[in-house]
């Protein structure tokens, strides 16, 4: 599969991935390798230029909008900042997909929403507004909203960014528990090596628009590649250079102003 934002700067060229059903798959890579773009391709927010993107047996590249919306009801997505609807309470945020897609009686909606909120430990916060929540709490509410339609595929975009250790542990355990209890196919995009190692079944390491490594977290620890070693070990310089391309350092520092 290939994808380019514009013609001369491809984000992905010949990317080939196969995400196993019912497992937790992590997608890692340095900033700017297009991890978020990959999620947008999987969810059909952008279309691939070449090749194919198949989700749950359906080709996304030429799918009609209406069919895409039907497919998306089987997916849940957790955005980086939660993306809660700020004009609705926590309860109404979680109830939102149910109200939009079903005619369920109010009693049933209430029960469904409260069970999902209970699962993320925020049943007591049902009446709060999103502005009153901490970052970790909003992400848990967003998670409850993402699972309220019982999706088959759950996608997490950088779920650990900016969380304190406690919230982080809570989110990690939730990802694992949701996967084990409901058999959801989970895709986690992140660059937190330590956190990912504890939950992921399979890890893809992307760099330069290609998969440079694939395996279990343990396999990646001892992967025979410079790029992988640099990323896993967190080394400043390596195949991914520390310096953005620039003219000669001393030449620029010492250049005369009139030059």
């Amino acid at each position: 599969m290939s994808y380019a934002v514009n013609d001369n700067r491809p984000v992905f060229a010949g990317l080939d991935m196969d995400i196993p059903r019912g497992r937790i798959t992590a997608v890692m890579g340095p900033s700017g390798t297009g991890k978020t773009t990959l999620l947008r391709l999987i969810t059909g927010q952008v279309r691939a230029d070449l090749g194919s993107v198949v989700v749950a047996g359906q080709e996304l590249r030429r799918m009609r909008r209406a069919d895409l919306y039907v497919l998306r009801r089987r997916m849940g997505m957790l955005f980086q900042n939660g993306a809660l609807l700020t004009d609705l309470s926590v309860f109404e945020n979680v109830a939102f997909p149910l109200r939009e897609h079903s005619d369920l009686p109010e009693r049933l909606i209430r029960q469904l929403v409260l069970t999902k909120l209970q699962a993320v430990g925020l049943r007591g916060a049902a009446e709060l507004m999103p502005a009153e929540l901490s970052g970790g709490m909003s992400r848990r509410v967003a998670l409850a909203r993402a699972i309220v339609m019982d999706p088959e595929i759950l996608i997490y975009d950088e779920p650990f960014v900016g969380l304190d250790p406690i919230s982080l542990g809570v989110i990690l355990r939730l990802i694992r528990r949701l996967n084990d209890a409901l058999g959801i196919t989970s895709i986690v995009v992140s660059h937190d090596v330590q956190e990912i190692s504890t939950v992921a079944d399979v890890v893809f390491l992307l760099s330069g628009g290609k998969v440079v490594a694939r395996g279990t977290p343990q396999e990646l620890q001892s992967y025979p590649s410079e790029t992988v070693r640099q990323f896993i070990g967190g080394l400043a310089d390596g195949p991914v250079p520390f310096h953005f391309p620039a003219p000669d350092y001393f030449g620029e520092l010492l250049a005369r102003e009139d030059a």
Binding site: Q45, R73, M77, A83, L85, P97, E100, H101
Partner: protein, 255 residues
Amino acid sequence: MKLIGELWESLTEALAGLGAVVRFLLRLAAASPRALLRLDLISQQIYNAGALSLVIIMLSGLFVGMVLGLQGFQLLQRFGSEEALGTAATIGLVKELGPVVTALLFAGRAGTALASELGLMRATDQLSAMEMMAVDPIRRVVVPRFLGGVIAMPLLAAIFSVVGIYGAQLVGVQIMGVDSGSFWSQMRAAVGLRDINEGIVKSCIFGVTCSLIAVYEGYYATPTAEGVGRATTRTVVTSAVFILFLDYLITAAFL
């Protein structure tokens, strides 16, 4: 040569922008039938755009009417026809000042609120999140706001005119001493349905214009703090220019 090239470029750019807005309007129209089923959402937006603008509209209407009463009285007195004050003020308000000033205030009060709300929803991924929940944000968020504005604007213009006429009467009759009977009876005799229709047509068209510009700017705002700010500013500026331009065209069409 360079100047002509630049002029040509900005002209084609402006036309492309206009085309994009019209395409957006068609998208809104296509999504409207299903959005109309959600009357709760639309009435919420009529409240936001209309009821919350009431105070500023009524206050402005009152003062504009009072100024009309004062100036109209002084002018008409020179010709010894102060009794025509009711007619003059009403025609001025119903045909011109009511729709135009209301639309300008509406763009400043409701239009900016719409644009910044949608822009921030874009910036905080709320619109993408809706799309991911298989909910079309155009149908769920944009169309109710657009229709709310379209419905609220003529109502506000009517209220503006009524309050304005009261203000003119307050100054002309209560303070300056124009005869109350002739104020009202001359007005009733001279102001026809055609004048009122002109006001209604204007305020409806301004309502569509202002709401469309606001939701368009907000929906396509660059998702940054600066982008949302720019979208808000452009909402007011573009709305104001279009209102005054369209006002001329409609006035000419009604002659």
